[in-house]
């Protein structure tokens, strides 16, 4: 992710985990007129900005989406995928070290605005609907991550 180097994470494991539950999870999302990871949130992110955005999004998925989803009554198959995804996110976040240097302030602000677009849309929904939608949009998130993985 731009200046952040992440090694040792096998993205295909994440794909396999999500693909196993994709249709089940996306079928729980009935509000198809709303997309959290809108086209304006992710694409055309500079390398430098991608580290901040990835860090913010992955932390949100870990601390909000997976955590709350885990407490719901879900089938075992989803729990199994959920823990694979969560464990890999913990690994990635531990390796993502967004720069704290001053000259990165503007980039950090731009990344934060992008993340707020996503978070605001999430908060406008009822929590159950928001969780299902965010989890169902992991294919969009992983596609975006894959593009940065490819560039390493």
């Amino acid at each position: 992710f731009g200046p952040c180097q992440v090694k040792g994470v096998v993205l295909s494991e994440l794909w396999k985990a999500f693909w196993a539950v994709k249709n089940t999870v996306q079928a729980q999302d009935n509000i198809t007129s709303i997309r959290l990871l809108k086209p304006e949130v992710l694409p055309n992110i500079s390398d430098a900005e991608s580290c901040f955005v990835a860090h913010a999004l992955l932390k949100f998925y870990l601390n909000v989406v997976f955590k709350n989803y885990y407490n719901k009554r879900v089938e075992f198959k989803i729990l199994k995928s959920l823990s694979t995804l969560a464990n890999n996110f913990i690994l990635i976040i531990s390796k993502l070290q967004p720069s704290q240097e001053n000259e990165m302030f503007a980039i950090k602000e731009s990344a934060h605005r992008r993340f707020l677009l996503f978070q605001r849309a999430f908060k406008q929904l009822d929590i159950e609907a928001a969780l299902a939608k965010a989890f169902g949009e992991m294919d969009i998130l992983l596609t975006w991550m894959e593009k940065f993985y490819h560039q390493l």
Partner: protein
């Protein structure tokens, strides 16, 4: 036309068949109405937007497929489609697809494979599969331009020793060296992209024989 909704069973197995970004919606007629003069109407939806959209060419049609390649050609988007059956004054409820993400789900067609033989070598030249074109005269876009991380899996089979091996490459040429002369080798290639599991279409198997060993040919004379 107005009709009694739910008076007919729904079409079944509604799904997108997508190869090189040509996205065709297919379905089966309602179970009990095989052969009846049933017509169908299709609509599609862009995830995150507000309205279902119609495709005029797929309204009141007899066939059980509808090409939605143009309507679903934006890689950044995900789509749904739905179909309803109509017969006389009755119609079914809509039958809907799961969320369709062409960028992740399109099958990658086989590359074109050209083989040239040497005494103990075979040169393989690959041409990437082409993306579906709206019009034949549109400029060609290769799938590798859409997926920079596209790779090829080359499988080689020695018909004499019955040995098979394969190799993953990213560029378009591969020279197989240290082969046995005067031996028939079969080659098959498939294109794949790291990411979610995708259906893969391998190339046709092509078999060529390496040339005769020139040294032994001279001795014989």
């Amino acid at each position: 036309a107005t009709c009694v909704s739910g008076g007919l069973p729904q079409p079944t197995n509604i799904t997108f068949i997508s190869i090189n970004m040509q996205n065709i919606l297919r379905w089966n007629p309602p179970a009990e109405l095989q052969g009846a003069e049933v017509t169908y109407t299709v609509q599609y939806f862009i995830y995150g937007q507000k309205k279902w959209l119609s495709k005029p060419e797929c309204r009141n049609i007899n066939r059980t497929y509808c090409d939605l390649s143009v309507e679903t050609s934006d890689y950044e988007h995900q789509y749904y489609a739905k179909v309803k059956a109509m017969w006389e004054t009755n119609c079914s409820r809509w039958a809907e697809t799961t969320r369709f993400y062409p960028f992740l789900e399109t099958q990658i067609g086989p590359p074109e494979v050209a083989l040239t033989t040497g005494e103990k070598s075979i040169s393989i030249t690959l041409t990437a599969p082409e993306k579906w074109k709206r019009n034949p005269e549109d400029s060609t876009v290769f799938m590798q331009q859409i997926y920079p991380n596209l790779k090829y899996n080359v499988s080689v089979y020695n018909t004499k020793s019955k040995r098979m091996w394969s190799q993953s490459i990213t560029n378009h040429t591969l020279v197989l060296s240290w082969l046995e002369p005067s031996t028939l080798y079969c080659v098959q290639v498939e294109a794949f992209i790291p990411g979610p599991p995708r259906l893969i279409q391998p190339s046709h198997k092509q078999c060529v024989s390496t040339l005769e060993d020139q040294a032994s040919a001279l001795k014989v004379r």
